[in-house]
């Protein structure tokens, strides 16, 4: 897939993926409620943010996309 924006890496271990995206030339930030390693870009209560986003989400119909199932 093409990523024209940035990658938002959330929760634990997000820093590892963030660094690899950046090395591949894709802007990325990591978000977590903790900042144990001093590398979290945005220390934020993700649970609260999800609840807020869900509360403010307007319902409208979405056509179900086809589901692919791949085991590797």
């Amino acid at each position: 897939m093409e990523i024209k924006g940035k990658v938002w890496c959330m929760f634990e271990q997000s820093g590892t993926f963030k660094q690899e995206f950046i090395k591949l030339g894709i802007p990325a930030i990591d978000l977590d409620i903790q900042n144990n390693f001093g590398q979290t870009d945005m220390q934020i209560d993700l649970f609260e943010q999800i609840e807020k986003a869900y509360t403010h989400t307007h319902t409208h119909t979405h056509r179900a996309r086809s589901i692919q199932y791949l085991t590797i």
Binding site: M1, M10, A53, T57, L70, I72
Partner: protein, 181 residues
Amino acid sequence: MTEDDLIVAFFPCIEFSCVAQMWFSLTQKDYAKWSYKQRVDYMLEKNNRRAYMFGLLCKLCCVSLVKGIRMVFENPWSENTYLKQNVFLKPPSLIDKDRTRRGDYFKKPTAYWFWNCEPTKGCTIQQTPSIMIKSVSLQKKAPKAGLCSEERSMISPDYARNFICDFILGKEQKLTQLSLF
């Protein structure tokens, strides 16, 4: 966030883990000194916590779907995790049965759900030498029950890069296996 972005979420798995299922057995060894009421009270507390986390995950997926934001979230897929045992929104988009094949420290079967996007089909082989493969059960536990151990959650940079190239970007690397057809 916009539709040009991508969310990659390592959603907290402690409440869904197969080990957490043990808390719902009356004969769990940590309950040895507890009364039946204490055990059931604790089970109800664990059940509420798990229900909250499950609801939060569903809400996150809903927000992604409705807003059209692409998202990949991961959760363990070994033994009988809660998401594996029960019906959850949709089946995983892909399951990595052995992460050491792409350079991770652990074998740790892991499922990935892709929302508003599909995984690309790369195949990078970077087998971790057996001497460097770790066992989850031998890693340091979390400082207290209910938390996820950092050592057990560790992902190697090699695995992260290989996963991104194989399943998100569809980018060929030096170790990418080309298909015959």
